[in-house]
Amino acid sequence: MTQQYIKPIPVVQPWTEAFWKSTKNHSLLIQKCSACESLIFYPRKRCPECWSSDLGWQEAAGRGKVYTFTIVRDMVEAKFVPDLPYVLAMVELEESVRMMTRIVECDPELVQIGMEVEVVFDDITDRHALPLFRPADESLRITATDGDQTGKASEPALFMSPDDYHTILYETGGTNGAVCRITLNRPEKRNSINRRMALELRDAFRRVREDRNVGVVVLAGAGGSFCSGGDLDVFPSLAEHQTSLNWLAHEGLDVQKAITDCEKVVIAKIDGYCLAGGLELALCCDLLYAKESARMGFTEINMGILPGWGGTARIVRSMPVFRAREIIYSGRKDYTAREMFEMGLLSRVFKDEEFEEQFEKAVALLAAKKPIALRMGKEIMAKSADGGSIDTALAVERNGIQWLTYAPDIQAMMDQFRKNVKS
C-alpha cells in the first residue's frame, strides 16, 4: 500500500460501512432484511421490498457464476488505461444476488458466461478492498503477480506450455525433427502483435533454445501475411509513460533478445504484409526468404514516431545505410520484395508459385547441418557483425571452431577419416 491508489474509491454511505469494513477481513457480506428475509444487493438504508429498516448481514459463500462479461480494450479514463485490457463482469453469487466486478487471475480470452468463480480481494486502501473474482477451477488460473493491485489481468508465468499459446503456433517433431515452426497466428488481425503475442513469442524462442535436436526455426505468419506490426489495440495503453516505456523495454526488447539469442538459425518466411513491428521481428532473424508479392516497410514515421522494437537500430546494420535510411524516413509500406532484395536486405526472393517449394528446399538444406555448427556459426557471425575489433572477432572464430572440432561427434567423424587415410 505504499503506492498511492489513483483509481476511484467506492463512495461509501453510512449504512454500507459494514460491508466495506468486512472486505478488509476479506469477507463478503450480503445485506439481509430481518423483517421479510430478503437478501439485498447493493445494501440500502431500508429494505427495497418491505421498507423495513431492521437490516442485518449474512456472510456470502464467495462463490458464483459469471452472468455476463466484457473484455474492455479501449475508451476508458486515463486512470484505467494501465489496466487494459481488463475483464469487467456481472457475477451471480450462489445466494442469487448479482454484483459488478472484475474477473482476475485468468486469461481474458478464457472467461465464459457460466464460468464458476470465487471471490478474491484487492486491498486498495486501508479502508476498502474491492471484491474481485477468479476462476474456481485452478487450472484456469494464472498466478497472481504484484500487478494484481491494478486489477490487471496478471502476466502469464515466464514459462508457459505451448498448449497455452493463443496467438502463435509452436510445432516441433514434424517430418524433420531439426525444424521448429513458430507461426504468428492471428490471421484476422494480419498477425499483428499484442501483449499476449509478445509474451508467447518470448516464451517460444526461449523454449526452442532448450531443444537440442532443433537446428532451424521457421518464423512465419498464418493466413497469407507475415505480420502487419503492433496491434492498434495496444496503443491506448501507451498513453501512460511507464507502460509505453515497458512496451519497448520489456516486451519489445525481450522478444528481440529471445530471437537473436535462441542459438538456432531463425528463418523468416515473409509473405503478404511485413510491416512496421513485423519487419522488426524479421530483422532479428538470420535469413529472410520472401515471396515476390510480399510488401514491406516501416510506417512508424507516418505517426510521428520511429520503429522502437530494434528496427531503427538494426536496419542500418542489415543493409547499405543510404538505402536503409530511405526505408525509415519514407514511411512507405509498399516496398516489393524484389525492391528490398535489390536494396540489399533480403536473402532471397522466390516467385509466388514456387515460393512454398523453394522455401522448404532452403529450410531442408540448413536443417541437414549439425545444430551445434549452426549455433556456433550464428554466434561468431553475430559477434563479428556487432562491429567490435577484427582481432576480437577472429579470436571468437578461432576458439569457436576449435571447440567445434573437439566436440565428441566431430572427433568420432575425424577418427573415421583418419582410419580411412591410414588404410
Binding site: 483509481k7 476511484p8 474509491i9 467506492p10 463512495v11 461509501v12 454511505q13 454500507t16 447493493y42 452472468y67 455476463t68 462479461f69 466484457t70 473484455i71 474492455v72 480494450r73 479501449d74 475508451m75 476508458v76 479514463e77 486515463a78 484505467f80 489496466d83 481488463y86 469487467l88 463482469a89 456481472m90 448479482r98 454484483m99 459488478m100 466486478t101 472484475r102 481474458p108 458466461i113 486498495i124 474491492l130 486489477g151 484476422e188 492498434l232 489495440d233
Partner: protein, 396 residues
C-alpha cells in the same frame, strides 16, 4: 371534437444537421432550431406560452443558462409564461412532451416550445470520457471497477448473444440498417457516406468485447426543436398536425447490474401494449417503428418484445432488409444514435422530430410512403426505462 380531448399535437419542427461544429456556439444552434420550429408551426413567436427544454448532458453552463430562463429572453418570446428544463437522460424528450401536455391541459399554455441543443465538440475529450464513464454508473458499486457505457453495453450484448444465439454478423447488420437510413438523411453525420459492410464493422477494433468500435456511437453536436399545441388548436394553425395518440412507460433499474433482458422484454412489451391500446390501434396498423436505444443490442430485444418476430430472432429483419429504407418494416428512420451521431439526450428529440417529419410527409428520400401511424420509444441512462408512444396524422 371529443376524439382529441386532452390530446396534443406537434405542429412545427426545426433541426440543424448533426456534425462536429466546434466553431458554432450552442446559442447559434438554439436560435436556428427554435426559429425554424416556430415558423414551421405557422404560429407567431409571441404565441409560445411555455418553453420546456431537454436538458443537455455534460454541459453545466448551458444547463444553468437554460434553467434560468435564457431561451424566451434571447428569442424575445413575449408571450411566455412558464419555463423549465427537464432531465431524464435519453428519455427527457418524452418527459418534456408530457410536461407540455400538462401545461396545455391545465390551460397554463396554448403552445409549448421544446428544444434541445448539445455541442459535444466544445467539451475536452477527457472530460467527455469522464462524464460518460460516471453518468448513470453507481459510484460505489460499479464505477470503481472501471465501468463505462460501452462496457455495460458490451456485457448486455454478450448476454443477449448468449441467450439468443445471435452471431456477430447479425449484430453488425443492425449497424448496417441504421447507416442505410443515415446515408439518406441530410441531418445525419453520415449523410451521403458509404454504408459500412458487416465485414468492415467486424474488422473495426474491439472496444468492449463483443462490441466493436463501429458498433459504438460518435459523439456529435446538434439540435432539434418542436412546437406542441392542443389537438383542438393544431389543425387551425397547420395543414400537417401530428397527433400523440397513446403512451406507456416502464421503469427498470438505475444500475445495469440489477437489470436483465427478461425484465427489459417485459417492460418493452407492457409499455408498448399500453400505448397501442390507448391509441386504439394494433401493431399491424404501425407504418414506422421509430426506435431509439442508442446501441445495437436493444433493437432485436425490442423487436422480439413487440411481437414482431419469434423470441431470439430479433436480428433477422436487420439482415434481410425488412428494416431498411424501402423495407416492409421501416425501423429507426434516423438510424438511431449510431446512424445520426450521438448528441446526448438529443437523439430522442431528433427521433420525435423525425416521427413528426414522416407523418407530415416531409422526409424526402427517407419518406415512408403513406405513413399514418408511427410507434416511437425513448429510453434513458444505460437503459433505465422505456417510454413508448404512438403518433398519427389523424385522430382516432
Amino acid at each position: 371534437m371529443s376524439k382529441g380531448k386532452g390530446k396534443i399535437a406537434i405542429v412545427g419542427i426545426g433541426e440543424v444537421p448533426t456534425g462536429i461544429y466546434p466553431e458554432r456556439s450552442p446559442w447559434a444552434i438554439m436560435y436556428e432550431i427554435c426559429t425554424q420550429a416556430v415558423q414551421d408551426s405557422g404560429l407567431d413567436k409571441n404565441d409560445i406560452e411555455a418553453v420546456v427544454t431537454v436538458a443537455p448532458q455534460a454541459q453545466a453552463r448551458l444547463t444553468a443558462e437554460i434553467s434560468f430562463g435564457k431561451i424566451p429572453e434571447e428569442l424575445g418570446l413575449k408571450g411566455c409564461k412558464d419555463v423549465c428544463i427537464c432531465n431524464a437522460g435519453g428519455a427527457s424528450t418524452s418527459n418534456c412532451i408530457r410536461l407540455a401536455e400538462q401545461l396545455i391541459a391545465s390551460g397554463a399554455a396554448r403552445a409549448v416550445l421544446i428544444p434541445h441543443v448539445t455541442v459535444h465538440s466544445c467539451i475536452p475529450m477527457d472530460e467527455l470520457i469522464n462524464f460518460f464513464a460516471q453518468a448513470g454508473m453507481d459510484l460505489q458499486w460499479e464505477y470503481p471497477f472501471g465501468t463505462t457505457y460501452n462496457a455495460i453495453i458490451g456485457m448486455l450484448t454478450r448476454r443477449y448473444m448468449h441467450e439468443s444465439g445471435a452471431t456477430p454478423e447479425e449484430m453488425a447488420s443492425i449497424v448496417v440498417s441504421m447507416r442505410k437510413w443515415a446515408a439518406l438523411d441530410p441531418n445525419s453525420i453520415f449523410f451521403n457516406k458509404k454504408v459500412p459492410s458487416v465485414e468492415e464493422i467486424l474488422s473495426s477494433p474491439m472496444v468492449a468485447d463483443p462490441l466493436h468500435k463501429r458498433e459504438c456511437n460518435i459523439l456529435a453536436d446538434g439540435g432539434a426543436a418542436m412546437v406542441v399545441t392542443s389537438a383542438e388548436l393544431a389543425p387551425k394553425v397547420t395543414q400537417t398536425p401530428v397527433y400523440k395518440l397513446g403512451e406507456g412507460a416502464a421503469f427498470f433499474t438505475a444500475c445495469p447490474v440489477l437489470r436483465d433482458n427478461g425484465m427489459m422484454t417485459r417492460g418493452f412489451t407492457e409499455s408498448a401494449a399500453k400505448a397501442l391500446s390507448e391509441a386504439h390501434i394494433t401493431k399491424d396498423d404501425i407504418d414506422i417503428w421509430n426506435i431509439y436505444l442508442a446501441y445495437p443490442v436493444g433493437h432485436p430485444l425490442m423487436m422480439e418484445s413487440l411481437g414482431l418476430c419469434e423470441p431470439g430472432q430479433g436480428c433477422k429483419s436487420f439482415v434481410d432488409g425488412s428494416t431498411w429504407p424501402g423495407g416492409k418494416m421501416p425501423w429507426s428512420t434516423i438510424g438511431d444514435a449510431i446512424g445520426r451521431g450521438h448528441t446526448g439526450s438529443g437523439v430522442s428529440t431528433a427521433t420525435y422530430v423525425d416521427t413528426a417529419r414522416q407523418l407530415m410527409g416531409k422526409a424526402d428520400a427517407r419518406q415512408v410512403q403513406g405513413a399514418r401511424f408511427v410507434f416511437q420509444n425513448t429510453s434513458g441512462g444505460s437503459g433505465m426505462n422505456n417510454i413508448a408512444t404512438v403518433w398519427g396524422k389523424e385522430l382516432i
